[in-house]
Point group: C2
Chain length 730, copies 2
């Protein structure tokens, strides 16, 4: 979001916002923030006006989010005027939904001078929910403070319908949704966010909703509420009421003489009591409606929740209590934006690929324990990898960093590594220096957020931490900080390629296969993403033979005999897809000689490389150049490349890890006839996909270059991973 | 209730209380108020402690009601100490229920020095409700302010189970009741009376609940609440929301800057908004639970309601809205006393007849539009008259005084008549003078209450107004103000009896029957309960022939031919039951000669007379004396009386009217073999039972002596009513 159309009221909520305004130098241009606004949608509720806008970027497009108090609608209009100024002369339409869209219709048209199209509120909510739940990773979660990690994300691969949406704005609407086309508003209640906010506005000195919520956190409702124990002196077990159950909200007030009430009842306690009152009540009414309609899935949305732990816990508790544990309340990270997203989706830009969004957390709108990033369109549609054995149960991440020591370790490691990354990025360039400083602060800010709320951006994993780093780098204009390093290492390795292949050509049978695999492992040592290795590279301590000598071979992780046997005694594989990792020695000394071996035996090979840069990983563009160059010096590669026995594809990704739920269409198309998949590198084969099962023969190959993940899986530093998994019999 | 154990906190609620304290002379002894306390039951809730106590009276027993703020429990204990002092040395137990019974158990035992027995709260509520709904007339009503008369009482003759009880105390319990023995607490909410009271206690300067309710009456919630129209600028008809529907309770608060809120939002408006909020919410949760359990009948109870129109209307509206008009909220006059009554019923005095209570309204606990009287035990059980043709649809009252001009007429008439009644009562007796003054004020107070809230004591009818007058007279120690008048008139008529019968004995056939009927009608003119007649009697303007000459014979109301034919051409009736009216000429010149005719033809005759005095109606005691005396001078009567061909019974009643749903067991027993019922008098045959259908031949006979009821039914003043209805064919 550029300075031109900053949301003046959301300052405290928007990390990036406050971050940028603190740190900006007026002459810095951030490429991803000079938006080309194409579409705007506004959802004006009784209390809040929510805005989403879609901007065309150098790569794809971006859907951004912001919100304003409806009472300060001028701020919202000012913000939209900013967006429209940026837009220039191209005509633009604004979609408007929510109750206020009727009221402010004329004002918007007049002040903004553009057409405003109204959309039905309920339909927008449902459109928005269906889209977000299906398309956005880690959108849906449950909350239960009795769990070690209260937030737990839900798998979004299940059948969506029927569900019940409880949208808590100023008031509450309860909608039963039975298909993409059919819904009914079955109920509602006037006790919603406006009630909590309004009563707290009369009873406390809090200035805004966030302050009220913060107050409620400090309060204890039992100073205000009459509990079952206060009346019965204990449980009323005959009818199943615990002594801690609230018997009467605010029931203790009347026991204190009027003159003493102001001093006796703390605003914090009143806030807590009211929050319980409204949340409990909504939970109960929601459950009763779900029961009446036989619905098992209840989504809660609306800015009433604001990711507030007490609110979510109370709603969850109410649903669990009344349903006797059968139903769990489900929450949405984009809780408040369903309507606005739905309005946007009613008539999106024709060029937008609506099922290829991924979430960019570099600038987040921060709620209390959840974050909302902007949605970024990818240049290709992202689809599930078709060779997954059990697509519904697939989970990319090997280790979910739920335990405190685990996420602390990774957050601290990435924090410690920041300085050297900034050094690489800047190279004494004055402009880059300023941006790098901003990047460093930005990423460090996210890391500190995640230390407090590890699941705020989705389930915390090494993958998510690395992805976030890439997003922040790109957001600050660093598209490829390892570009020069990669170029240097690639040219060095290309220089030795013929030397290596001629020595390999002297081997055959088992010796050849063993040497090829040994080279892949040695090559995988060249990884700028691994802190210890980075140090060795910088100090010049790593050459290919040193790398080979450092590797440990523990039979628990390294077992090549079956794969060797398969290669040597059975007909060649028909088609092999290889997900590659680093540039330089990794690709050129490790992967390509093995590719050369496969194609020489008639196996078709597809190399899948990242779409966009990420550390020193080879990108699909760089890979193309390298294959062109090698074709000039190696006949086998040349022949295979020209005959398209050897091809390459973009994974659609920009990360050291890979989520096989979201790969490019090219990868999907290339999967036809594949009977061997090789996944290479610590990010792709250890941090992610370590436990992934495919429907074809699979090799996962990498070196353990991080002590934590090594220890976690029972390995030592620099142990080799070579895991061959045969396709299950059909 | 005597001064000794007056409820110090309920002064403003208890009409009799304030009335007596204003008017009492310390040396006046009111016979029905020197109680002999037998049993006490207390229901201590979070906010209110409800007390019922049973006292033995000269005639049967009395169950009385009072309530105290739980916060001022000492007042309640003081009140109970008063009750116990009165009790003397006889051991007494106190039944205690409600949450607070646990908390205050030790305090009660210690301060009162008597055994306190705890009873389960939910069970007591249900016991209480089942009893009140079945036994107390006009207990259950619906409320809808869109009707000309918002309060409408429900017929209690339907099958009671299953029902749902929503008991609104500090918190709310929702109980499903499926039989006298089976129930389940299916739900509840902490948003109850304590919440409304507590929040209003923080937000307004009102000193007590009544003041808060009064405030809410003056307020307009739309100044505080956000309505659908405020958001959408009109209805949101697509989803069925009207512009006046509350979208967000308190939703307008936040739109006003904090500093201006105190002045902007009136306490009255806040009160109205909160009352709607809590009532709507309870209604909605109640409906959803009823829906989930397939229950059609929902009773609301608890002092939260306090007969407050807005509360009841809101609950009714919510139930009607959510059930799409299929279910009506049902309210109870004894709304707050279910638990206390239930606790009393767990172990009532062995001599109490629990199905013979009738309600005495002379001293009422007044809610806003409903009243609660004490429950008085009758000397015999009261049962339904077994000869009703369709017992379920029977309604005693001919005219329900719902229209304002009707009830105003009757209230004014009775008010105007008060003075002469007081004159009759006092006869220059000093003590009687003081009590008569109190009676006059008491009854006038009730009349003025009824002018405002005509249905407060049950459906308003001539019968209820007359009953109430009798109750007030008795409460002030006037058991039989017409005693001397009746004696005088009886002796005068007895003197003429032989003269009359000897002239009748000269007639036969049609002439005899016509003369007998003519005498009944003339006799029925002698009615001190009819204002105009009273004047004539006092001025000496009425003798039997004058009376006869005044009667008009409109064939619409007077048609004796079929009855005459039946008497003369068919075999005599087997057994005739006659409900008689006034003493003096009415009984002795009118009824007894006809009785003499019947028994002379072999028909068995049972005369049913009032148990207790009421105006100049003959009582069963007086009737016995008269029959004894006539037996001495008339052979036919003597023979019939001695052979028990002629008997008499008490109706169990003490009213000029008769409710055939509640007659004595003697009447019920005497019905065997009855094939003719004669109902005599304006009160019994015109004000009540005019439309009653019996399963045997019926004669309704009276003179129209009130211009309103005459006009209402299309008759003129002094028109004769003689209505012969043949038994329907079987």
């Amino acid at each position: 979001m550029s300075k031109m159309y900053r949301n003046p009221s959301a300052g405290s909520l928007n990390t990036n916002e406050s971050f940028i305004s603190e740190n900006k130098k007026s002459d810095i241009v951030l490429p991803n923030q000079s938006d080309n606004i194409a579409h705007i949608a506004v959802d004006i509720g009784g209390s809040l006006a929510k805005v989403v806008w879609f901007s065309k970027q150098s790569q794809g497009g971006r859907l951004s989010f912001s919100k304003f108090e409806t009472a300060k609608i001028d701020q919202c209009i000012g913000f939209l005027q900013g967006l429209l100024t940026e837009r220039g002369d191209t005509p633009v339409r604004i979609k408007a939904t929510g109750g206020g869209s009727h009221k402010y219709y004329d004002l918007f048209r007049e002040k903004l001078g553009v057409a405003v199209q109204k959309e039905d509120e309920m339909e927008c909510l449902i459109y928005g929910l269906n889209f977000l739940v299906r398309q956005i990773a880690y959108e849906v979660f449950t909350y239960d403070e009795r769990r070690p990690e209260p937030m737990q994300y839900e798998n979004n691969s299940q059948e969506l319908f029927p569900y019940m949406l409880v949208n808590i704005g100023s008031g509450v609407s309860i909608i039963k949704v039975t298909s993409d086309e059919t819904y009914e508003r079955i109920s509602g209640t006037s006790l919603g966010g406006g009630t909590l906010w309004g009563l707290l506005g009369l009873l406390t000195d809090a200035k805004d909703y966030d302050e009220m919520l913060a107050m409620s956190k400090l309060g204890d409702n039992k100073n205000v509420d009459m509990l079952v124990g206060d009346i019965y002196g204990g449980d009323y077990s005959k009818i199943g009421l615990k002594s801690t159950t609230i018997a009467s909200s605010f029931g203790k007030v009347i026991k204190v003489p009027p003159a003493e009430r102001k001093s006796k009842f703390a605003q914090e306690d009143i806030s807590a009591s009211l929050l319980y009152l409204v949340s409990n009540n909504i939970g109960q009414i929601a459950y009763l409606n779900a029961q009446a309609h036989g619905i098992q899935r209840i989504y809660f949305s609306g800015f009433f929740i604001s990711g507030h732990p007490i609110t979510m816990n109370t709603l969850s508790y109410a649903i669990a209590f009344w349903s006797k544990g059968k139903i769990k309340a489900q929450f949405l990270r984009h809780e408040g934006y369903l309507g606005a997203v739905g309005a946007f989706l009613r008539d999106p830009p024709t060029y937008a690929r609506l099922n290829s969004f991924t979430e960019n957390f570099s600038s987040i709108e921060k709620n209390i324990i959840t974050a909302v990033g902007s949605l970024e369109e990818y240049p290709t549609e992202l689809k599930q990898f078709p060779l997954l054995l059990d697509p519904k149960s697939y989970n990319p991440d090997t280790t979910v960093l739920t335990e405190r020591h685990l996420h602390s370790y990774w957050i601290d490691l990435l924090d410690a590594n920041l300085k050297s990354l900034v050094d690489i990025a800047t190279e004494k360039n004055e402009d880059a220096l300023a941006r790098a400083e901003m990047f460093e602060k930005m990423y460090r800010h996210h890391l500190s957020e995640l230390k407090t709320n590890p699941n705020a951006y989705g389930t915390l994993s090494v993958r998510s931490l690395l992805n976030l780093r890439e997003q922040c780098l790109r957001e600050m204009g660093f598209n490829d900080i390892f570009s020069k390093i990669k170029q240097k290492e690639n040219s060095q390795a290309l220089f030795g390629f013929s030397l290596l292949t001629s020595s390999l050509d002297k081997l055959s049978g088992e010796a050849l296969v063993d040497e090829l695999i040994s080279n892949i492992l040695a090559g995988n040592m060249y990884d700028w993403g691994a802190a210890d290795i980075q140090e060795m590279i910088k100090k010049g301590e790593l050459d290919f033979k040193v790398a080979q000598s450092k590797i440990g071979y523990d039979p628990k992780f390294y077992n090549i005999s079956k794969f060797r046997e398969r290669l040597l005694t059975e007909p060649p594989y028909k088609k092999c897809m290889i997900f590659v990792d680093n540039s330089g020695a990794d690709l050129i000394f490790g992967i390509l000689p093995f590719v050369r071996y496969l194609v020489s035996r008639g196996t078709e090979v597809v190399i899948a490389a990242n779409e966009q840069p990420s550390v020193n990983d080879i990108t699909v563009g760089e890979l193309g150049d390298i294959l062109e160059q090698i074709s000039k010096i190696d006949l086998i590669i040349e022949k295979a490349y020209k005959s398209e026995l050897l091809t390459f594809v973009s994974t659609g990704n920009a990360s050291p890890c890979i989520d096989l739920d979201r790969v490019s269409e090219e990868v999907v198309s290339a999967c036809t006839d594949v009977d061997l998949v090789i996944i290479e590198g610590m990010g792709r084969a250890i941090h992610t996909n370590y436990y992934a099962k495919l429907s074809v023969d699979t090799v996962k190959v990498a070196v353990f270059k991080n002590p934590q993940v090594a220890a976690e899986l029972g390995a030592k530093m620099y142990d080799a991973l070579f895991k061959y998994e045969e396709a299950p019999p059909y």
